[in-house]
């Protein structure tokens, strides 16, 4: 099963990203475990410059922006 992490201190963009990612997974029928990472130290460990960050199986796929559902579906399918 995939692990999807949402990096961000809990601001509007992080919540939006989580919603997009969940919808994308549900739309593609992919089961995934969602983890919200809000601790600043843990977030910085992922080497991203700005939140929100999206991490799929410990690989950063996007940061600093909100991808569309279609993009997330592609990353999930890989």
């Amino acid at each position: 099963m995939l692990t999807v992490k949402i990096l961000g201190p809990g601001c509007a963009n992080c919540r939006k990203l989580e919603a997009v990612a969940r919808d994308a997974a549900a739309g593609a029928g992919i089961e995934a475990e969602f983890v919200k990472v809000t601790d600043m130290k843990e977030i910085m460990a992922y080497d991203i410059l700005s939140t929100p960050g999206l991490v799929i199986n410990d690989k950063v796929v996007s940061s600093g922006r909100i991808p569309s559902q279609a993009e997330v579906r592609q990353w999930l399918a890989k």
Binding site: G8, P9, C11, A12, N13, K16, V20, M40, K41, I43, M44, D47, I48, L49, S50, T51, G64, R65, I66, P67, S68, Q69
Partner: protein, 482 residues
């Protein structure tokens, strides 16, 4: 009961007057500019000047530029602060960024300018810039041993280099022109270039009804609502509704509500640039120079927006909408609360505590700023209230500098990144610098000659350097930050 009613009415009156008068031509473009900056300026373009090996002459101004261009709310400020501190140039520039971002960003500047006047906005900007760099340098000197020791990771993160497309630059510039066309109070924009009389007999009655609904006392600095204001409030509500439908899922693309919301926003800006005056049994519509200026700027924005890439366009609209959702609602609540509180505060209290430009008055203002937590930008209408109630501009500036930088919430977040000792030093420095800034600006307003102000500033800097030298046991080792 009567009293409660009066308080609520004060709040509603303030809110209505505010929505009708102040928001549109300044805040609407400012939200779109903030959105464009967040979505379209490549962060690496600025943060590459913040790498570990950057000289301090470059890294401090770059940190300030990052503060004014990249960040608007604490949501962006704290992660970037952590990044600059841990992986970038270190504590000093990170502190400069942290201090400058809440005051130097476009929303804060445009908003301060429209509510408190251009002079205040300029003073706030310059003093925050100067003292932000000062506080950063002092922090770097105080803690230079820690800084030299803290983990030397690669600065890959800060090395990227990207450029903005011409459409993005054009969009940003035309938005800034739109903001200026809407807010500058200069003759060609204010002058009437034509007028039109609409036979609307209800206009005068409606104005009288509005005055009865929102009674105001000009002597207390309160403002009423006029016919134009009521039209604008209706249009704003329309924008709110259509934007909710059209922009909430903009990352998936446009829907049929999106063009309606954007069209309404443009129309509102143009209506706000008109001047509507009820005269007896008709409504006179005065066309000012502002109308064609605003219309041309809106057209330029639309032209460049069409040339953006689809993804950039969506990101821009989303970020703008996100700022509106995040800040505007809190701002409305804040303005309402200010209207209520204004009924409770006696002007004599404010005049006694901070009516003149003394060290004590400035200190009181700073302490108030630290213990009150106002959401992003709400400090500005609060400041307006104090100004109307007779606060001296000097202490008011001290309050404006301390409030957004220091609140319990932001101190906790900062402490998590840099530790308690450094946070305590930072808080102390901000309080000190804010008091000095208030004294200097107050002296300027009181028309003390420039020579004395410069002399005072020089004495402050010398005392600071002396204290640092004593603390370090030697002259400041500036070499470590090169």
């Amino acid at each position: 009961m009567q009293y409660t009613l009066q308080l609520v009415q004060g709040g509603i009156g303030n809110l209505a007057a505010y929505l009708a008068a102040h928001v549109l031509l300044c805040l609407l473009p400012a939200f779109f500019i903030a959105g464009a900056m967040a979505a379209l300026i490549p962060k690496a373009g600025i943060t590459r000047w913040l790498g570990r090996n950057t000289r301090y002459r470059v890294s401090y101004p770059a940190a300030a530029a990052a503060g004014s261009l990249l960040a608007v709310c604490s949501c962006t400020i704290v992660p970037l602060f952590a990044g600059i501190y841990r992986k970038g140039a270190g504590l000093g520039p990170a502190i400069t960024f942290l201090f400058f971002a809440p005051a130097g960003n476009i929303l804060a500047l445009a908003y301060t300018g429209s509510i408190l006047g251009a002079e205040f906005a300029i003073a706030r900007f310059l003093l925050c810039l100067l003292f932000g760099i000062g506080i950063g340098l002092v922090m770097a000197l105080l803690f230079w041993r820690d800084d030299a020791a803290h983990d030397a990771r690669t600065d890959n993160l800060f090395a990227g280099q990207t450029r903005m497309g011409t459409a993005a630059i054009g969009l940003l510039l035309s938005l800034i022109v739109l903001l200026l066309a809407g807010t500058l109070k200069v003759a060609p924009l204010n002058a009437a270039i034509g007028s039109l009389t609409l036979p609307l007999p209800w206009a005068g009655t409606w104005q009288a009804t509005l005055a009865a609904w929102v009674p105001f006392d000009a002597a207390k600095g309160e403002e009423g609502v006029n016919v134009q204001g009521s039209v604008l409030i209706v249009l704003l509500a329309g924008i709110g509704f259509t934007a909710w439908k059209g922009l909430e899922d903009i990352v998936e693309g446009f829907n049929r509500w999106t063009p309606i919301a954007l069209g309404l926003a443009s129309a509102t800006l143009i209506v706000a640039a008109l001047r509507l005056a009820p005269t007896g049994d008709a409504l006179e519509v005065v066309l000012t120079g502002r109308v064609p200026a605003v219309a041309a700027a809106v057209a330029a924005v639309a032209y460049f927006a069409r040339r953006l890439g689809a993804e950039e366009l969506r990101a821009w609209l989303w970020e703008s909408w996100r700022f509106v959702k995040q800040i505007f609602v809190l701002l409305l609540a804040g303005v309402f609360a200010v209207g209520v509180i204004r009924q409770l505060i006696q002007p004599e209290w404010i005049q006694a505590a901070a009516g003149s430009n003394t060290v004590l008055a400035n200190a009181v203002a700073v302490i108030f700023g630290v213990f009150m937590y106002f959401p992003t930008l709400v400090e500005v209408p609060v400041a307006r209230m104090f100004l109307d109630l007779g606060m001296h501009p000097g202490p008011l500036l001290a309050y404006l500098m301390a409030d957004p930088e220091l609140s319990l919430q932001s101190m906790l977040m900062v402490a998590a990144v840099i530790g308690r000792g450094k946070t305590a030093a930072y808080v102390g420095l901000v309080a000190l610098f804010s008091i000095v800034a208030g004294l200097l600006y107050g002296a300027w307003v009181d028309r003390v000659s420039l020579g004395w102000i410069v002399l005072g500033l020089a004495a402050f800097v010398l005392a600071l350097v002396g204290a640092l030298a004593w603390l370090n046991g030697r002259w400041p080792p500036l070499a470590h930050s090169t």
